[in-house]
C-alpha cells in the first residue's frame, strides 16, 4: 500500500524531473550545449502563459500556443545570435563559453521576469486540470499529474523517434561529432541545429506551464530542476534519450523511497554518492565500447598506480 503510493509519488516526482529533462536532453544531451539558461526558458514559457491566460483572460490553448511561439522564437534568437558564433571553438573554450554565456543569459532573464511579473509566486490554472483527480487502489493522482506523466513520456517518445529515425536526428548526431564533415556530407547544419534548439525551447515552455500549474510560478522556478536535469541527462548517457527518461524516473522513485527509509539528511547526499560511484563504476567497466572488462580494469588500476611513478 505505502509502497504502491510511494511508487506513484516517485513516478510523479520522476515525471517532473523527466519533464524538465526531456527538453534539456535535446539541447544538452544531443546537441552538446550545456545550456544554463534552460531554467529561464522553462519559467519564461510559464510567464507567457500566465500573461496570456491569467492577465489577459484568453483561453488556455491560446496561452500554450503563445508560450511555444514566444519561447521558441527566443530560443531561435539565442541560438543564432549568441551560441552559433561559439561552435567553431576548441572543446574547452566551447564548454566554458557556453556555460558562461548561458549563465549570463539566465541572470538577465530571471531579473527581467522578476521586474515584469514580480517575485511573488503566481498560480496559473491549466484548464482546471489541477482539480480533477483519479483514484485507484487507494492512490489518488490529479488529472494534471497524469497529464504530466503522459506528456513527459510523449516528449521522450518523440525525441527518441526524432533522434533515431529521422534525418534531422541523424543530422544532429553527425553535426555534434564533426561539424565540417556533416556540412560536407550535405547536412543542413544551421537549419538542423536551429530546429532542434527551437524544439527544445518550445518543449521547455510547455513543461514550464505544466510545472507552474502544478506548483506555483516564480522566476527561479526551474533553478533546482536544472541540476537534476544535468544529472539525469548525463546519468542516462549523453545523447541517449531513453537513458535520460529512465534516469529521470529512477531519480524520482529513488527519492520517494529514500524518504521512507533513510534519515532525511542523507537522501540527497546518498543520491550524489551513488551518482559518483555510478560514474566511477561505469568508467571502469564500460570503457568506450571495450568489452574486455579484465583488461580495462587492469589498465585503469595501472593508470592510477602510475601516479606514484
Amino acid at each position: 500500500m505505502v509502497l504502491l503510493e510511494s511508487l506513484v509519488n516517485g513516478l510523479i516526482q520522476g515525471s517532473i524531473y523527466a519533464l524538465f529533462a526531456a527538453s534539456f536532453t535535446i539541447i544538452f544531451g544531443v546537441m552538446d550545449i550545456p545550456n544554463m539558461g534552460h531554467a529561464a526558458l522553462f519559467a519564461g514559457g510559464a510567464y507567457v502563459f500566465y500573461q496570456v491566460t491569467m492577465l489577459s483572460g484568453l483561453p488556455w490553448p491560446v496561452g500554450i500556443v503563445a508560450a511555444v511561439v514566444v519561447i521558441g522564437a527566443l530560443g531561435a534568437i539565442v541560438e543564432r545570435g549568441l551560441l552559433a558564433p561559439l561552435y567553431d571553438r576548441s572543446e574547452s573554450e566551447y564548454v566554458f563559453g557556453v556555460i558562461l554565456l548561458t549563465l549570463g543569459l539566465a541572470r538577465i532573464f530571471e531579473r527581467a521576469f522578476a521586474q515584469i511579473w514580480g517575485h511573488e509566486p503566481h498560480s496559473v490554472s491549466l484548464a482546471g486540470l489541477q482539480r480533477g483527480s483519479l483514484e485507484a487502489f487507494g492512490v489518488s493522482v490529479t488529472t494534471l499529474e497524469l497529464l504530466v506523466v503522459v506528456f513527459s513520456i510523449a516528449n521522450f517518445a518523440v525525441l527518441y523517434w526524432l533522434i533515431n529515425y529521422t534525418n534531422t536526428g541523424l543530422g544532429l548526431q553527425a553535426i555534434v561529432q564533426d561539424r565540417d564533415l556533416a556540412r560536407l556530407k550535405g547536412v543542413n547544419v544551421s537549419r538542423t541545429f536551429l530546429v532542434a534548439f527551437v524544439l527544445g525551447s518550445a518543449m521547455a515552455a510547455v513543461a514550464g506551464v505544466m510545472n507552474a500549474a502544478m506548483f506555483s510560478l516564480t522566476p527561479d522556478m526551474g533553478a533546482s530542476l536544472l541540476i537534476k536535469a544535468f544529472i539525469v541527462v548525463i546519468l542516462g548517457g549523453i545523447g541517449r534519450v531513453l537513458g535520460a527518461a529512465v534516469a529521470g524516473y529512477a531519480l524520482g522513485v529513488y527519492e520517494a523511497f529514500a524518504i521512507l527509509y533513510l534519515s532525511s539528511y542523507y537522501i540527497y547526499a546518498s543520491e550524489f554518492a551513488i551518482l559518483i560511484l555510478f560514474f566511477l563504476a561505469k568508467a571502469v567497466l564500460l570503457d568506450e565500447g571495450e568489452e574486455n572488462l579484465g583488461a580495462v580494469l587492469v589498465d585503469r588500476v595501472r593508470g592510477l598506480r602510475g601516479v606514484a611513478r
Binding site: E291, A295, D299, R302, G306
Partner: protein
C-alpha cells in the same frame, strides 16, 4: 637474443578477432616491414607491443624482459617508441618544443638536423604540412631502441617519399625499425625482413626477395603494382 620477441599474441574486440596468435622475433638492427590487408591487425599489433592495449593472451619481451602488461608510457621509456597511423604532433607547441618533449637523452638539435627541421623550428604544430608533421612525429618517436612506425609513407607524394626513405635509412643505422606499410615498393626498398599479417595471423616471414618470388604472396598481398 632477439631485441623483441612476440609470442602467441591474441587480442579481440567484442566479437572481432584482431590478433590471433602472432609470434615472431625482431633482431637488433633489423628493419622489419609488416604488410597485410586492411584490418589485418597490424596497428593492433603495435598497440599490443607498446602496451597501449593489453593483449588477451601471449607475451611480449623486449631485450629479454617481459613487457606484456607494462603500460605504454613505460614501454616508451624502456626504449620502444611509435608513431600513429593518424599523424600526431602537439598542435600548440612549436617544432622545437615538440621535439624537446620527445627527446630524453639525445639532443633535440641533432634530431632536427637529421630530419631537416631546423629551418622550421619555430613553426607551431598546427601550421605544418603533412610531410613536416610526419617528420616531427618521427622525431618524437626516434628516441627509443625500437621504433614502430605506422604508415609513415601514406599521403606523401613521389618527391617526398625518397626523402623519407633517406631519413629512415639514416635512422636505421642506429635503431631497429618496424614499419607498417601499404606502399610495397618503398617498403621493400627499406626492408631487411618482411612480415605478412592477415586476419590476425602471421602468414609468412622472409626477405623481400623471398616475398616477390612467392606466387601466392604476390597475388594475394602485393598486387600488380608491386610487380
Amino acid at each position: 637474443m632477439a631485441l623483441l620477441e612476440v609470442n602467441d599474441l591474441e587480442r579481440t574486440f567484442g566479437g572481432i578477432v584482431a590478433l590471433d596468435g602472432v609470434t615472431f622475433d625482431v633482431a637488433s638492427g633489423e628493419t622489419n616491414v609488416i604488410i597485410g590487408p586492411n584490418g589485418a591487425g597490424k596497428t593492433t599489433l603495435f598497440n599490443c607491443i607498446t602496451g597501449y592495449h593489453i593483449p588477451d593472451h601471449g607475451t611480449v619481451r623486449f631485450q629479454g624482459t617481459d613487457i606484456t602488461s607494462t603500460p605504454d608510457y613505460k614501454t616508451a621509456r624502456t626504449g620502444i617508441r611509435r608513431t600513429f597511423q593518424e599523424v600526431d604532433v602537439f598542435d600548440e607547441l612549436t617544432v622545437a618544443e615538440n621535439i624537446s618533449l620527445g627527446a630524453f637523452e639525445s639532443s633535440p638539435r641533432e634530431m632536427m638536423e637529421l630530419l631537416d627541421l631546423l629551418d622550421i623550428h619555430d613553426k607551431e604544430g598546427s601550421e605544418l604540412t603533412l610531410f613536416e608533421r610526419k617528420r616531427v612525429s618521427l622525431a618524437l618517436a626516434s628516441e627509443g631502441e625500437l621504433l614502430l612506425l605506422d604508415e609513415v609513407f601514406s599521403g606523401l607524394n613521389p618527391t617526398e617519399k625518397p626523402a623519407m626513405v633517406g631519413y629512415l635509412d639514416a635512422l636505421a643505422e642506429r635503431k631497429t625499425l618496424m614499419l607498417i606499410e601499404h606502399d610495397i615498393e618503398t617498403a621493400f626498398d627499406l626492408a631487411d625482413t618482411v612480415t605478412i599479417l592477415a586476419q590476425g595471423q602471421v602468414m609468412k616471414r622472409g626477405t623481400p626477395e623471398e616475398m616477390l618470388d612467392d606466387e601466392t604472396v604476390r597475388e594475394d598481398f602485393l598486387g600488380e603494382m608491386a610487380i
